[in-house]
Symmetry: C2
């Protein structure tokens, strides 16, 4: 929660997302808790229990007072684990999917120094950039050694959260054409207000995947609610094995799933690029524009009971 | 300096690099000083002055006790500003330089969660990976707003240091072929023990370039001492304008120059890939192997008086 400092103050949020209590006596910030998880976790769990049964009262959750769980992080690594997304988006920019599409995970190193909170504005630096959202699930990790195996990856997962991996579509082709990956085409990424321990997901967390729907709305209208589990080709555990092939990761590293995407068009989209490609296939050209000033993007992960698991990303697009 | 904690302890080093004094009463870590530079800088300069004139005694510098200036950083962004390096290395892997080689800077987002200290071993996970060093200069920045102009970039530069941007050459072609840039081909980057304020460089720091030689030795033999200034096509100020086109940077972000490289073969190389390409041009095939276990890489920036400006990177290659 915002407290005027760079990393904010750590709070524990009640299961219904309505009430929170300061946790700074256990660890001042989430990064501090992750740095010393074995020591911090029991106290955080105890406080969550007290909050759940009313032994601690806490205060009402006000989303605009929340920053990203880690407002600055040591690493933000994003996979692209949904094959349907890769195929549609590459088709949209006239590029072929890599030959190793189903055997070698696609990941990119994102900028992690400035991460947006759930209600921070999306700044449209230039409308010609083609501003787009990308709704994703992400893990926050503990220390991960070099060369972790998928079967051992689960023990390094600390928290699950939701991400808006903002992309400037019209800057992507030239930038990837230079060969060094994304940079100016990826402005600051935004995060849901809360991050939950995997056990909070119950059996919806299994095999390194989250078997829940990720809902995205644009200007109050649902644009997609794909299932995040079944079509995640590479699990988070496989992504984690891939990204530690040649180096270790430090506590607080964030690992994203890539844009959640289902083959079934009825499940809609988690980014406008996919919708535009579906329109092109159906009608010969895209109809939906990229984001413009005044647009409102909302993203949330919902459980089987309809509960918002990590709270809602709710961002307005503003002209620079 | 190592103190058993993740970020170590901030020390101030005397101009000759031989003696240092703890600065933790001013700021516990370098990141803490960068977070609050306006407050920390005067005290750090005062301590440096006292150390210089013997009013504070300090203790002898022992390089192995030094970590990277930032053992974990919020962002590590590496440019590739030396045209000669781009042309030679792309030729080595049969790829064309981008059409915008001289107009649009090449940068990549590096992993910053685990940064190696100056004497940390280089781990050879698999000899087939083609382990190579890359000697570079890097800046450590303060907070940088979105859209900084080259003429205003200098005010955001806090420190200058030296980097070994380790690369696994044989993993590069397939990884860049996937389109998302480097990841497993870039293991942890290593840093010189010290970082200096730009004024320590005198008139060798001008126009956003460092006009000094960067010396690299392999197994005690000099392999290159190129001039870092004249052939840096995009200055650090131009790189900084490029990387803030669509987002802001947080204090402690590290910005690299790319492998320092001169057209004149007499100046040698700052990476083995360049030497192998020069051998291929001259003799039809590369002769120099990539690094093997037991090899010893040393990198340092030397001033006109022969002084090592940031101390020496001195790393042994060890089998995993």
């Amino acid at each position: 929660m915002r407290n005027g400092r760079r990393d904010g103050e750590l709070v524990v949020v009640r299961g219904d997302g309505r009430v929170c209590a300061p946790a700074s006596r256990i660890a001042p910030t989430l990064q501090a808790a992750l740095d010393d998880w074995e020591r911090a976790e029991p106290g955080l769990r105890e406080l969550a229990g007290e909050l759940g049964r009313g032994a601690v009262h806490g205060e009402p959750v006000e989303p605009s007072r929340f920053q990203a769980p880690l407002p600055r992080a040591y690493e933000w690594i994003d996979g692209s684990a949904y094959i349907n997304h890769i195929v549609l988006v590459r088709r949209a920019r006239g590029a072929e999917p890599p030959a190793t599409l189903r055997t070698d995970p696609l990941v990119y190193q994102g900028g992690s120094g400035v991460l947006l909170g759930p209600t921070d504005d999306l700044r449209l630096v230039d409308p010609a950039h083609g501003l787009d959202f990308e709704s994703e699930i992400a893990l926050i990790l503990g220390d991960v050694p070099l060369g972790v195996k998928p079967a051992d990856a689960g023990r390094h997962v600390r928290l699950v959260t939701v991400v808006n991996d903002v992309t400037l579509r019209n800057l992507v082709p030239d930038e990837l054409g230079k060969g060094f990956g994304f940079f100016v085409s990826k402005p600051a990424t935004a995060f849901a207000p809360f991050a939950v321990t995997p056990d909070e997901l119950g059996d919806a967390w299994r095999d390194g995947r989250v078997y829940l729907r990720l809902r995205t709305s644009l200007n109050g209208k649902l644009v997609g609610d794909p299932e995040a589990g079944p079509e995640m080709h590479f699990s988070f555990f496989e992504l984690l094995a891939h990204v530690t092939r040649t180096r270790a990761l430090t506590a607080g590293t964030i690992l994203g799933s890539g844009t959640v995407s289902n083959e079934d068009p009825a499940r809609g989209v988690s980014c406008l690029a996919e919708r535009r490609m579906r329109e092109t296939i159906a009608q010969g050209k895209p109809v939906t524009p990229f984001l413009v000033a005044g647009d409102h993007v909302e993203i949330e992960l919902v459980d089987r009971a309809g509960r918002s698991v990590c709270g809602r990303i709710s961002q307005k697009v503003v002209a620079r």
